[in-house]
């Protein structure tokens, strides 16, 4: 079994590479989740142009490895890729990608859902909303 692919990166996420990494002859399903910056307006009527992600890199990477280990305790994961971006992520662009392969599809869906939910509630990453009038605000409610 190869190592899980876990990383924080400032660069755009190459999903095709992650899917190739997570492919396995024993897999019956590969679930892919992308968290994408959603377009929205703030109460002042300004449009969101991007999210700026701040990371506690050492801790966040350790936590992501821990999430991978906890996923493997719950589901028969063959391969797993978990990548989160740091820095500015424009609207319409993925900030996080999770790819999980398992023998059967239900396990892949369940593992993927648990990973994104737990990542959002635990991992030391913060998003700041950047608006079209150059103002910015720390995100108060978890959103993807």
């Amino acid at each position: 079994m190869t190592e899980d692919l876990i990383q924080l990166q400032p660069d755009p996420i190459d999903v095709a590479t992650l899917i190739a990494t997570a492919s396995d002859p024993q897999a019956g399903g590969i679930a892919v989740f992308l968290g994408v910056t959603r377009a929205e307006d703030n109460p002042a009527g300004r449009a969101l142009i991007a999210l700026d992600y701040e990371v506690y890199s050492g801790m966040a990477v350790r936590q992501m490895h821990d999430l991978a280990a906890r996923t493997r305790e719950q589901w028969p994961v063959l391969r797993l890729a978990l990548v989160h971006r740091s820095g500015r992520v424009p609207v319409g662009t993925a900030s996080v990608a999770i790819v999980v392969s398992t023998p059967h599809r239900a396990e892949a869906f369940a593992a993927c859902q648990w990973l994104i939910d737990t990542l959002k509630s635990e991992v030391a990453i913060w998003k700041k909303e950047v608006w079209s009038d150059d103002t910015a605000s720390w995100s108060k409610t978890p959103k993807t």
Binding site: M59, V96, A124, I125, K140
Partner: protein
Amino acid sequence: MRIRVKLFAVLRERAGTDHVVVDLPEPARPRDVCDLLLAKYPQLHGVIGSAAVAVNQSYATLDDMLAENDEVAFLPPVSGG
């Protein structure tokens, strides 16, 4: 004892720095670091209270015992994903 402190997100912005080194008498706990930060950066009042604390990159409590050169981080509610 020397403690390395890291601040993130709104705490980093309010303090105007992402790290600070503090010197505390032994024994010291994250709670003592928090008190010292509030004295040094009163603008952290109202935001540091809702922060989680991590010692050496693992979640901890305000009452854990610290050791020389530990890294103590104050983490506002996370919002990754």
